[in-house]
Symmetry: C2
Subunit: 193 residues, 2 copies
């Protein structure tokens, strides 16, 4: 087990309905030293990639992205969630359907902060069905930029998101891939990487 898998086993809580609660260290309370370790691991996994910008999505992706960005020494842009239909022409827009909240949101990024010269590492805390991630990829493509890679903290390997993204040829690195969880025993099975 790597450092993140160990932490998930130690502090994560498995709930009914394939819910993994990691809000003690990842997405409500945030262990920024752990985030730095994640940044260093992403730096190793994306070695050789010319990354000049990190893209993430509000809210819980922002903390990880900012600490990872310190390791990569690049700026972060975070996509904003918006329910409004009327977005002016200065914005890239993608539709994102949330698995958790069963609602559709628009995700927007100002055209000022993403363009054809950008080589982007996308960072997020969770990957499940991958809708948020698809929205972020769409936005980089709209900008004419390059998705150099995708770094995820925890992937739910039993959902379709990761496979779709890998099928599309992207380098997707998830620091922990959960293949199954059992709420009755609390057991978590990670994919061997």
């Amino acid at each position: 087990m790597n450092f993140l898998e160990e932490r998930i086993v130690k502090d994560g809580i498995v709930k009914e309905g394939n819910v993994l609660k990691v809000d003690s260290f990842l997405n409500h309370q945030m262990d920024v030293e752990l985030f730095r370790e994640m940044g260093e691991e992403f730096k190793r996994r994306f070695a050789g990639k010319e990354i000049n910008k990190i893209l993430t999505i509000e809210a819980s992706g922002i903390g990880i992205a900012c600490v990872v960005a310190l390791v990569f020494n690049v700026p972060v842009v975070f996509a904003k969630k918006s329910k409004s239909i009327n977005v002016d022409g200065d914005m890239y827009v993608a539709d994102v359907e949330s698995f958790t909240h069963k609602c559709k949101n628009q995700v927007i990024v100002s055209k000022k902060y993403l363009g054809k010269d950008d080589h982007v590492l996308i960072i997020d805390d969770f990957l499940a069905n991958g809708c948020a991630l698809q929205g972020l990829i769409s936005i980089v493509n709209q900008a004419g930029g390059t998705v150099e890679g995708i770094g995820i903290a925890i992937e739910k390997g039993f959902q379709v998101g990761g496979q779709v993204i890998r099928n599309l040829g992207y380098q997707l690195e998830s620091l922990a891939i959960v293949d199954s969880m059992d709420a009755s025993t609390g057991e978590i099975v990670f994919r061997k990487q």
Copy 2:
């Protein structure tokens, strides 16, 4: 002028209605090296305070808080915005009225992550009328914790928020206090500190 004031003059844009756009480096695209410099300045200004946790509010506060937390070597907790009335008993709740969006939100923090032993530094990107900040202070008080200080990137000194908080006796440190702005000339007047 300090480093943040210089950056605001260089990259900030003054708009009609006392709007200061700093989304090229603070709250959409994020300059994490600048955030680190802010962290080091907060570390100086709150020297001698025993701070064991940083509290902020989603979304744009999270990035600054996480980088500042690396400098302080403490975890971050971010308050979530919620429109739902039904919050279970495991949450601290405060009502927050947004100046920008003219709407009321509930701000919630899990009781697991804030308690009577916590000595809290509150971090946010902007302070205007101070409603968000009042909500965060309320949550620390509900938890029985101690607000050791409040660190803000940009305070709108012509709005009431900062004065209220200082009147209440809190150590509020704003790295840049804008006393006036002129959208026609782009001129920004900072308060001498």
